[in-house]
Symmetry: C2
Subunit: 448 residues, 2 copies
């Protein structure tokens, strides 16, 4: 395909998207390549991105976008490693530490898990920030080390390198400052270009909706899930998505070390019910896609067994040791230093908890130090929240609902206020809500 600059007029391509026309394959390829080569300036790209945001893209356009973003960098070749390589991606939420638990579970069951993760974004946490709360743990492996660790342990947990989808990095930075982030085709291109670059054969997606998710509405999450599946399958990768609720945080712990702590508990068979329900389903699906179980249900059983017999916990210790982390603190997490400021947010009334707004709790945790308010901020691994109660619990007035941890005295008042506002207590019992609502595959949508 001839993608010489002279053949295209970027203003007329922006115009096409502006006028809701479908871009031809070569036109869209040209835009991404020329932008990567600095032949299209940011001011034209941002107008194009806004036109995409408002007018959308077809499945075919999204697949081409993804492929061009993918090919802007290196695509890791994992064919020398035997087995079906499977990763999981979550669209982000509060208290979502499933990666830390399922990666060792799935690897322990014989499925290689090549995982390149991200950092916290806005109110949501990031796997890399959580891993870095383990003293010594390095997520900055190069792609050669990435392959070596995967080969040795069947699992590796690293951050995005410079070689992975650089077009995504540039486009994301531009989208971030031009209000063009929450676009289904652009999110799809961003997620899938990075995941496909890992060298995976299959992918399980946890697409979240609700207060603490980036997609507030289930219908939008469904639309995103379908688009992700469409693009994944168009690259010949088995792709399965689940729609999961993010109204209240997942599990009881929010914050970086806090989430590692809860993950260790989970790997020792002490994980809370909601967290384990999501983690086991995702892990079971990965084991099934990895060809080590005949069904998702059988995969879930294997995943549970890997916890019962200690293999998953051992795998986690192996990863931590391999990537330079302190295994002593993993074995004895109660020795981890605690935050200097701790206080409880208690129930203002007697009754049933109806709301524990995941978004507000996520923002409060960020303010306490668990995330970045500005890009240059450093993260306090000890900062966070521990939920003593979840939605549906009956509480007495004055009973502790959230225990708060911070090293920043300036932040506590504001966070305390946010947390109080995030809690709603009523006399009547709340309706049970569905945690995992749908399974989406290329065959279609199944209600769960």
């Amino acid at each position: 395909m001839n993608l010489m600059q002279s053949s295209y007029n970027i203003a007329s391509l922006i115009r096409k998207k502006r006028d809701r026309e479908t871009l031809k394959e070569d036109e869209l390829r040209y835009i991404i390549r020329a932008y990567s080569r600095d032949e299209i300036p940011d001011y034209q790209m941002s107008a194009f991105l806004m036109a995409v945001f408002l007018n959308g893209m077809s499945d075919e356009e999204t697949a081409i976008l993804t492929e061009e973003m993918l090919c802007s960098g290196e695509v890791v070749d994992l064919s020398s490693i035997p087995g079906t390589k499977v990763d999981k991606h979550s669209t982000g939420g509060v208290g979502d530490k499933t990666s830390l638990i399922l990666a060792p579970m799935v690897a322990a069951c014989g499925v290689p898990v090549p995982m390149i993760s991200g950092r916290g974004l806005g109110h949501s946490g990031g796997t890399l920030d959580k891993l870095e709360s383990i003293p010594g743990f390095s997520v900055n492996l190069d792609l050669n080390q990435y392959k070596q660790v995967l080969k040795k342990h069947n699992v590796v947990l690293i951050g995005q390198t410079e070689e992975i989808a650089p077009a995504d990095k540039r486009m994301y930075a531009l989208r971030d400052v031009t209000a063009t982030v929450e676009s289904i085709p652009l999110i799809t291109g961003s997620i899938m270009s990075k995941k496909l670059a890992e060298g995976i054969d299959a992918l399980v997606l946890d697409v979240k909706y609700g207060k603490g998710a980036f997609m507030k509405e289930a219908s939008r999450a469904m639309e995103l899930a379908k688009r992700l599946i469409s693009v994944g399958e168009s690259f010949g990768k088995q792709t399965v998505a689940y729609l999961t609720s993010m109204e209240e945080p997942l599990g009881n712990y929010i914050g970086n070390w806090h989430e590692v702590f809860e993950s260790i508990q989970a790997l020792q068979g002490e994980g809370p019910q909601d967290l384990m329900e999501v983690t086991e389903l995702l892990a079971g699906t990965m084991i099934f896609l990895g060809g080590k179980a005949d069904s998702v249900e059988a995969g879930i059983e294997q995943a549970r067994e890997s916890i019962r017999d200690g293999r998953a916990m051992q795998k986690f210790l192996d990863i931590v040791e391999e990537q330079g982390g302190d295994t002593e603190v993993i074995r004895n997490p109660e020795t981890y230093p605690e935050a200097s400021v701790q206080w409880d947010v208690t129930a203002q009334d007697e009754g049933y908890i109806h709301t524990l707004d995941a978004y507000s709790l996520g923002v409060a945790a960020v303010e306490l130090g668990a995330g970045r308010m500005r890009k240059e901020d450093t993260i306090d691994p000890q900062a966070g929240l521990v939920l003593q109660k979840k939605i549906g619990a009956y509480v007495q007035k004055g009973e502790t609902i959230v225990r708060c941890f911070s090293n920043n005295k300036q932040a506590t008042d504001n966070a305390d206020k946010k947390i109080r506002q995030a809690i709603e207590i009523k006399a009547s019992e709340p309706e049970k809500t569905t945690l995992i609502s749908h399974k989406i595959t290329k065959e279609g949508v199944v209600s769960l």
Copy 2:
């Protein structure tokens, strides 16, 4: 109003427009001011402009946008010049030389005409380029000279100076390369900020629709006309608009000197019917708004009288002399040198002319040298087309329809082909079309 940068987050303002919310007055003022001060980069402005293009602006937002663009530069104070100052603006077409004819007519009738014009754009001609075909004529007067000439002759014809609406200049350059030109609020801001800066008291607008206009559909032209009226009146300026058809060129001459030639004929009472119908209506309306006639009809009568008694022609000679132009060639236009290449496009069939596509003829004239294909191109004042027949005329096979003039032999084949394709001849007589369809004022729309 406090418009400190720190109070605003440009990404969140882009988001508001993206989500179809109405911007608050201070938010919109901030965007234009901060962009003018280089505090908002082009890549954020272009995303904002695309959001405006696709989601629109309210009348109130458009008025605020216009005011900020206006206030980015100097607003000429003409209060020292007696009388109601009235200008005319056309949204652009092919063969539209009404400014050259009506400015001296209206000035001769005692209404001051302060006119700051533009250059040719795409397929359409520009008043400045036409004036510069007169040897020696200078359109580059500063704002002080502008006032002096207006005071002396009741009329002045200049180009946009650096001081006039610099925000429009920057925004237009950005819109031009980001496919955000054809937006009603952005066009309105651009036109009205420049016109209001002239120091006018009233404005007559010629909003064109059809093949040779920028708005192809009458409904879009109507929408633009209403928006222009709304903004003009919100600034306390009497504003009247006419919707006029631009299917075939206006008058018979296209090209810079050719249009000056036809204007001289018109000022001597020899103008073609369609050109005079539009010119007299616009002039009559200006004379009425300028308080020198009790009605538009009486204004038209005065305008006609100014031609009959030679005052309009004398006024034109006065302007040319004042602004450095050669009056001899105006008195004896047949002495103007002719283009080296001349040929006729003749009728391929016998029948009625149904189409003389103004857009294609405009593009052909540009290719022959009458306009700029690239910004750096120079204009050939001798290049152009003369229509020997107009729509509705009955022609014999081989009869000349268009006489073509160029000094660029390379361009003739292509232009010839375009001109042939612009002509459609049928056996049946075409239906009469309306030249001037509606009058729009703050009181409402009247069909004409």
